[in-house]
Symmetry: C2
């Protein structure tokens, strides 16, 4: 299939860039830093970024480097999040801190964080001063926003009442911002004008919200082996996902009691009972919300015209965001 080849070429080149950045002499540190990056991952943000650059006939070499920057940054946040959330499995293998200990996992994340800026600097090298500044400003601002989102997510775990509005605000920061940044950078390395850059950011935000809602859904419904981590782990960690929030708002007293007993529990029976009720009350609602944001993403995307193959690729990627199984 045409698109398969299109995506494979991007992934191949972005992976080469990633490998060229994440290598160095201090063996243990670099082993711990490249481990998760080498363990698969969908490379969804790089695919969006490079496809957008293609749509606008941008420079592929710059796009590959910017995509590597985004993927390296994403993996830094995953390594640190796994420590904070005490997650032991990701992509079907032990998390970095389980394999190398918390100190080296912290350091590996820090290294990737800096490597991401290094790769981004190279992606922008030779462009106008204003563009280099804008790229760095958008990227650093995105990391700040992502950290704020993670702080909100952790704080919500300790609160009984979280509104859907607060949840959307949180995932905008924690998840959607990096999609927005990826889309923006795809435009920036392709001479997108300001109105296109604005559309691209809105596109990314909406895609990112859909993506996270689907992540929350898959956390309750996916095949465990395919997902690469335990289902229901969100419930065990007491995460206030949109499904939990909606279920709590629509549960009767008995159901509410069972959900509250499951959230943050270590008892797998209680967790499962809570999960079943949450699914029965919230699955349809969550799918409809994912679809809602997806439609908004399409609205923004459709206002930007460019290369046909890239347009097709982006359409496919947008749909994949909600149709994926892991």
């Amino acid at each position: 299939m045409e698109l398969d080849q299109y995506f494979n070429e991007i992934i191949y080149n972005v992976n080469n860039e990633i490998s060229s950045y994440v290598k160095g002499d201090i063996k243990q540190l670099y082993d711990a830093s490249i481990y998760l990056l080498n363990a698969g991952g969908k490379r969804l943000r790089p695919l969006f970024l490079v496809s957008i650059a293609d749509l606008l006939k941008g420079d592929r070499k710059r796009a590959y480097k910017a995509a590597a920057a985004v993927e390296i940054l994403h993996n830094f946040t995953l390594i640190h999040d796994d420590i904070m959330d005490e997650d032991t499995l990701r992509r079907g293998i032990p998390t970095v801190h389980v394999k190398w200990g918390i100190p080296l996992a912290i350091l590996a994340g820090d290294l990737l964080h800096a490597k991401a800026f290094q790769a981004l600097g190279d992606a922008l090298k030779g462009l106008d001063a204003e563009k280099i500044y804008s790229g760095i400003a958008e990227f650093s601002n995105s990391v700040i926003i992502i950290a704020e989102g993670q702080a909100m997510d952790m704080e919500f775990e300790n609160r009984e009442n979280v509104s859907e509005e607060e949840y959307i605000e949180m995932i905008k920061k924690k998840t959607a911002q990096l999609f927005a940044c990826s889309a923006y950078l795809g435009g920036l390395v392709s001479n997108a004008n300001n109105s296109e850059l604005e559309l691209l950011k809105n596109f990314g935000i909406n895609i990112g919200i859909s993506f996270q809602i689907m992540d929350d859904i898959l956390g309750l419904t996916a095949d465990e082996k395919e997902l690469g981590k335990p289902v229901y782990s969100d419930i065990r960690e007491g995460k206030k996902t949109i499904l939990v929030i909606h279920a709590l708002q629509n549960a009767n007293e008995e159901q509410k009691r069972i959900i509250m007993e499951g959230l943050g529990s270590k008892d797998s029976e209680k967790i499962k009972k809570a999960g079943d009720i949450i699914k029965s009350l919230s699955l349809d609602y969550a799918y409809s919300k994912a679809k809602y944001y997806l439609d908004h993403a399409f609205e923004n995307l459709n206002k930007i015209h460019g290369e046909e193959i890239a347009g097709k690729a982006l359409n496919y990627l947008v749909r994949f965001t909600v149709e994926r199984r892991k």
Copy 2:
């Protein structure tokens, strides 16, 4: 005294920049992030950076922002290092992870890391494209090198034999690189030419090595209250400082046994015995080494000519590096 006023003005303005960057709506996260920055600290790197900018008649506003970037970055590394080293006190107060827990301390460090890039971007905004690129490249490369140095430091704790050469390589990365980066950025915002930038980096490396050797000395000799953390904590953590390395090389069998028993021990009697032997064998040697690198720093500095008051300030700062008591 004239220099007092000179330094106070710099610190006042850099602190204002720091406060303007490290603030935001997510209260707990920002409280944890600004806490160590507000707890004092010598602001040595900002003082070097701004004095160098003055020496070369650079733009003070850019220098303040670059200095804020460096200080914010430095504090990010301290917060994460304290988690890795399980240190509970710094600057006389509980460390961030003791006060807020490891998850929020990791996140606060990540936030500061990104804020540092944000501040640096602003410091460079409006300069030539090439300068913006160079500043970002030097900064990201410095963080990478610092992480590598921290990995070496941790790895040395588990090794019996570490050579002085390896130690110098490690502190060049872990400590001296950020002094080099500070000096470089002071030059970059002041239109320093390439040969001046090279001298500034060498100056910074040599100052940084001296500084770290003095830090190792103070870890055994300082007044605990003044130091803000327990003396001998390096021994408790099994750190291979230059004093430990030199002592092990020059100890007789009995002394060597006592040193090895103290390193990484939790027994304060054993730690003290080891510390006393290390001091008796290595203090003079370590002072002479600190002096050696200090002389090299002066050599580089003296090749750069500029404003008199800044020259005086830099001379004072260089001397302070080895004459300080905390």
